[in-house]
Structure formats: C-alpha cells, structure tokens
C-alpha cells in the first residue's frame, strides 16, 4: 500500500510517518506532499492508496484538496491529521468525503483506531 502524507511542516510529516511505523504500519510506501496543491498533484502522479492530510496549509488547504479530488472523480480514501478537531470541522470533513479526522496531538493508538479498517 502507498500512503501519501501531506503537511506543510516537514517535522510533522516525520512525526506522522514515525507514528505510522509505531502503530505497526511499517511495510508501506510513503510519499510526502508539502501542501494541498502538492498533494493533489501527487494523487494523480503517485496514485496512493490512502491520503493522510493536514487541514490548514498554504497554497491549498486539506479540505480544498479533498474537494478537488472528489470533484475530479478520485475516490482515494482520505483522512485528516490536524491540530483542530471541532465538531464543525469533523462534519465538514465527513461531508467532503473524509473517512476520519485525527486531532493532534495523537498517539499510535489513535492511528490504529482509525486506520485498522482502512489498511488491511
């Protein structure tokens, strides 16, 4: 499985990748994107099986990226990993087609809870 990790913070991308490994998902290919626009381009070029994306990013936000993906017909599973987890954001994420929203800070248990059903 190929997982696309989108976050404008390189440090946070490393933390997400490390947490994926700690949660037991250590045999998957990881692709990184540094904002929503980069993620959208890499969904086409890299064809990931799952996108884990920050919400608040320059150039294109995570929700804009998801909406653009769905508008273009892409059904790639998409989850948010973001510093905010308000009910309004969760509802907006779900409406746009996200499978889940993981709020930072997170642990490997949080990842397992949300990803076990997605990553067979």
């Amino acid at each position: 499985m190929k997982i696309l990790v989108a976050d404008d913070s390189r440090v946070m991308r490393q933390i997400v990748i490390r947490t994926l490994r700690q949660a037991g998902y250590d045999d998957h290919d990881i692709v990184e994107a540094e904002d929503g626009a980069d993620a959208l381009a890499k969904v086409s070029s890299e064809k990931p099986d799952l996108v884990l994306s920050d919400w608040n990013m320059p150039n294109m936000t995570g929700i804009e990226c998801l909406q653009a993906m769905r508008a273009s017909g892409s059904a790639v599973p998409f989850g948010f990993v973001t510093s905010e987890g308000s009910p309004e954001m969760r509802e907006k994420a779900a409406t746009a087609g996200a499978l889940f929203l993981i709020a930072k800070p997170f642990t490997e248990d949080t990842f397992k809870e949300h990803l076990d059903e997605v990553i067979a």
Partner: protein
Amino acid sequence: MTGFPGSHGDTGERRRTSDAPVLITDLLDQETVQSIAQEAWSALVGDDEFLVPLPGGPPDDAVSSWVEIVGPWTGTVVLTCSRATAEELSRCLLGEHAPPVLDEEDIQDGLGELANVVGGNVKGVLPGPSVLGLPEVGNAPEAGAPADTCRVDLLWRGQSLTISVQGSAGAPLDQ
C-alpha cells in the same frame, strides 16, 4: 417566508461596540493551558517529557512561535523559549530523523508546529466559530492588556518556556 431577523429563533441579541469585550481570562485558566501543552509534549516530544509550572526567567536569546485565533475572542497563542531550547525541542520532534546539525528551517518548523498544536487545542476550548492561522516564528507579537492575557511560565528539562494566550495589542478594552 423571508421575515425580518429575529422572527425565526433569533433572540435579537446583538453584540454592540459598547458591550464589554471578551477577555481570555474569562474563557481560559492557566491549568487548562498547561494541560493542553503537557498533552502535546507527551505525544510529540516524548512520553517522559514533563512541563513543570515554575518560572525560569526570560531567556537571553528568546525565540517565539505563534498562531493567531480570530473569532469571538481574537488574539495569539505564543510559545517562547531560548534558541537552544527550540533546537532541542525540534531534535526531539524529529527523533531518529534529526540530522547531526539542525538547520534553521527545521528549528523554526518544529517550534512553529508546537505552537500550532497547542493553539489548535486552545481554540478548541474557546467559543466559536473561530479561525486558526498558520504558525509563524520570530520575535513575539506585542501582548495586549494584562487582563486579556493568560500566561504560564514553565520549565522543560530545566529550561524556561512560556506559553502566552494573549489578546491582540490595541484591542479596544476600554470602550
């Protein structure tokens, strides 16, 4: 039906410029800020990393990161420490991926992301709807009135670290 405002569940209450401003000290206490920060530290910096509520004095070479919150309460969440502490924090965040010598971009990125996570969770306990800005790093923005500031002085590994949830400077507190 397109009735006037107030005809459908609208209480008619409106915030007037003469109303008392929303102060952060009415919305948030120091214990909550410290608890949010400790959760971020435990999850991101390390399981055994603790923030001790003791003032360590202002660092000589202070660097700050912050995020802005705009909503019913508007201000910034500012994290301030010495540059050496910021470097140590970023090294912890990167873990095994930390290079022998961290470049400035990684240090700013790490400190900014900590402010982002703490700020995002502070926003979560404030009345909404609010918008969170992107993290910035540099010299801390000027604080607003003391009455609109919730500040915690902490020690991490014996080094001074301050988190200030502060109203924007120049906010109309005296109207």
